[in-house]
């Protein structure tokens, strides 16, 4: 078993928190993990990505080869498409529909959605809105993790335990909000995929 995940977004959007949950959950299941991240100049409002590799055998490369990602999980729709060359033929695309516009030539978001929908396995949800509705706009990343959870090689218990472990030093309220965000994301993704199959 080897699962390759690319997390993408804009510097400061919280993809490293998603990575930390995946890492913690994978370690608790005694799996091998490699996770690369971006530090430095690009973190200042630029495009950032993290390669997360989870396996039951030793992992060599820190980077995922092109065409080998099982999942691209993005907190921003244009940033999802930037890493398309990494996607496996039957890989999953999961993204927040909410654009992060900090350039003056940002494309029309519907053009982005059209491109994403060209791939059969896609989940586009408004994670930012969902996070706001449960009272923590910062938890959009956990909404997305919940939405992608069915595609991950990790159990729901270990993912939730990891969320608790990572947030508990903040407060019980924040921990619970992030767990709730995870469940909301999962539920919305289930609705989304059911809808997609019916169509």
């Amino acid at each position: 078993m080897k699962t390759n995940i690319i997390l993408s977004g804009v510097g400061g959007q919280g993809i490293l928190t998603i990575a930390a949950v995946l890492d913690t959950a994978a370690l608790s299941e005694n799996l091998f993990i490699k996770q690369s991240e971006v530090h430095g100049m690009s973190q200042r409002g630029g495009a950032v990505q993290s390669h997360v590799r989870i396996s039951d055998k030793e992992i060599f490369s820190d980077l995922i080869p092109e065409g080998k990602a099982d999942l691209i999980l993005s907190v921003e729709p244009m940033e999802l498409l930037r890493y398309l060359p990494f996607l496996k033929e039957d890989g999953w695309l999961v993204t927040d529909s909410e654009p992060f516009v900090n350039t003056n030539n940002y494309p029309d978001k519907n053009d982005l959605f059209d491109q994403i929908k060209k791939h059969p396995n896609n989940i586009i949800i408004n994670a930012t809105e969902i996070a706001k509705s449960i009272g923590n706009s910062k938890a959009a990343n956990m909404v997305l993790l919940g939405a992608a959870s069915a595609t991950l090689p990790l159990s729901e218990e270990s993912l939730l335990a990891a969320i608790t472990e990572l947030f508990q030093h903040k407060s019980e309220r924040i921990t619970n909000l992030n767990r709730e965000a995870f469940f909301e994301g999962k539920k919305v993704a289930e609705d989304f995929t059911n809808l997609a199959t019916k169509k």
Binding site: V10, D23, K34, E37, R44, G45, I59, D62, M78, E79
Partner: protein, 537 residues
């Protein structure tokens, strides 16, 4: 359970477990997390390991050498271009040798994710004639640290450990080992080797040259250099450092059939290279950075067309390696790859919302718009982004401190409006000496120190300039009436424009300190900085 650590953190933990007494460093991507990890380590605190940031890489390396001189184990950490700054002491301490183990950690940045060049520090290792280590993964980064300190003390030489961005900034599970005790103070028996007068230096340099055979022997038997001759004798692979992972990723289960020399310790193990060369028809050199090993092989052998790599054009000469590129050169099956849709536009980094640098650049832009015969010389830091649209303020950007000295040279040549923009920490790192050059000749330049009270680009580390800039400038000899202060806020725009206009009219050295804390600083950090400024003034 294993600890999940960045390559940088694994290395840092390795240094603590090797009995480190002090780390000296100046922040620089991708090396910063090494020192930060030790600064945050409870164990390091208990062990009283020195961790405070240095003013620059040269002062850091000299302090590390001082700690080694008295017999303790020390480490100095920097990014690749930092080694240029420290190269004076680097080259000379190879001649003097060290006392307590001394490891120089340098993180290279192939692909220039956060840098101005792709220089390969292995060249420096060869230049100084000292052992150079290059981990292939996070566990090896940890293990090599323990080995490096022992090797350094055994040879009485500094050891260079080269990291690259991908390994520095990627996490994996690490197994730690038993901790080595810290050394006691133990002064060198013969101090003359540290007094590099010509007669001593000649003797020491002979010793260094004579040690080279030993260095090669150690590389030959090093457990970190592994030669495996497989059934396949077509292609022989030399895989250096992290490149080994990209090779293994691709050949995976077919490993036994391949002939591979993994290299993590230099000088190159010559006999192992010979054995691989004789076993195979073709040698493929896969290395991150410059074609250092490939070039050496061309010196070893006459049949140059047998050696493939970056010089032969089989691998890209620039940019970092990745498993896809390495898969291609190994001739393995390529995945069908979807292109990036054309609708996707670039998203370059930019200054944070509410950043004081932006207001400063708006002021400069307004002033220089009406001027002829002008240039803005920038420097290294977040404000380097002022060279990009939409600001387009900065014209030149070369190295730490070059803003002031380039402006001076341009003014010497007759440029009427020479403006230097430099950050507070870059100023103390390498700007002060250049300012003295300008003051000495009263060169007509206007220096703007954009003081955000932090080393912001690398994560808002403490700046040695905090609370000291005015006194430093006056001490260097800037005229008090031409040492100005401004606060870069929209509401001050008009008066800031006036200050800059007036100083540009003055045909001598002016310094304008533009003061506003980095927006990334936490409330606590801002409070600490304020208290520090008050205590110093």
């Amino acid at each position: 359970m294993k600890s999940l650590l960045l390559g940088n953190e694994a290395l840092a933990q390795g240094s603590i477990d090797a009995g480190l007494s002090g780390v000296y460093a100046y922040p620089g991507t991708p090396s910063t997390e090494i020192t930060e990890y030790i600064q945050k380590s409870k164990l390091a605190k208990e062990l009283k390991i020195h961790t405070t940031w240095s003013v620059n890489e040269k002062t850091a390396m000299e302090a590390a050498l001082g700690m080694s001189y008295v017999g303790k184990r020390s480490m100095v950490v920097m990014k690749h271009v930092g080694l240029n700054v420290a190269s004076d002491v680097f080259m000379n301490m190879a001649v003097s040798g060290i006392n307590g183990g001394l490891v120089v950690v340098v993180a290279d940045d192939p692909s220039m994710h956060s840098s101005q060049n792709e220089q390969d520090s292995r060249f420096y290792g060869k230049f100084a004639m000292i052992p150079t280590l290059e981990p292939s993964n996070q566990q090896e980064a940890y293990d090599l640290m323990l080995y490096a300190f022992d090797l350094s003390e055994e040879l009485k030489l500094p050891v260079l450990l080269r990291m690259v961005t991908r390994l520095s900034h990627s996490r994996a599970g690490i197994n730690v080992k038993e901790r080595h005790h810290q050394n006691e103070i133990n002064l060198p028996l013969d101090t003359s080797r540290f007094a590099l007068l010509p007669m001593n230096a000649r003797r020491q340099f002979d010793l260094l040259v004579n040690k080279q055979g030993t260095l090669i022997e150690l590389s030959e038997k090093s457990e970190f250099n592994k030669l495996k001759l497989g059934d396949q004798n077509g292609i022989g692979i030399i895989a250096c450092g992290i490149a080994y992972n990209y090779v293994m990723e691709n050949i995976g289960e077919d490993e036994s059939s391949y002939s591979i020399l993994k290299v993590s310790q230099y000088p190159l193990p010559r006999e192992k290279v010979m054995a691989l060369y004789q076993h195979c028809d073709k040698i493929l050199v896969i290395e991150e950075g410059y074609p250092v090993v490939e070039e050496l092989l061309h010196n070893y052998f006459d049949e140059n067309d047998k050696i493939k790599g970056k010089l032969s054009g089989d691998l890209p000469r620039t940019g970092e390696l990745n498993p896809t590129i390495v898969g291609k050169i190994l001739g393995l099956k390529e995945e069908s790859v979807k292109p990036i849709p054309s609708v996707v536009t670039p998203r370059p980094p930019q200054l944070c919302e509410g950043c004081g640098h932006t207001d400063l650049f708006n002021t400069i832009n307004e002033v220089v718009a009406d001027l002829e015969n002008k240039s803005v010389f920038g420097d290294i830091g977040c404000y380097a982004l002022g060279a990009l649209p939409p600001l387009n303020t900065i014209n030149a950007l070369i190295d730490m401190g070059a803003s002031i000295t380039m402006a001076k040279g341009a003014a010497d040549a007759g440029l009427e409006n020479a403006i230097a923009v430099i950050g507070d920490s870059t100023f103390t790192h390498s700007g002060m000496t250049g300012l003295l050059d300008a003051v000495y000749e009263n060169s007509p330049i206007t220096v703007i120190i954009s003081d955000n009270s932090a080393i912001a680009m690398t994560g808002a580390q403490e700046s040695t300039a905090v609370g000291r800039l005015h006194k430093i400038c006056l001490g260097i000899g800037v005229q008090p009436e031409h040492l100005k202060t401004m606060v870069p806020l929209k509401k001050n725009h008009g008066q800031n424009v006036e200050v800059l206009q007036n100083e540009l009219k003055y045909k001598g050295v002016s310094v304008i300190i533009s003061e506003r804390p980095c927006v990334r600083l936490s409330r606590e950090q801002k409070k600490e900085i304020k208290a520090k400024i008050e205590s110093l003034n």
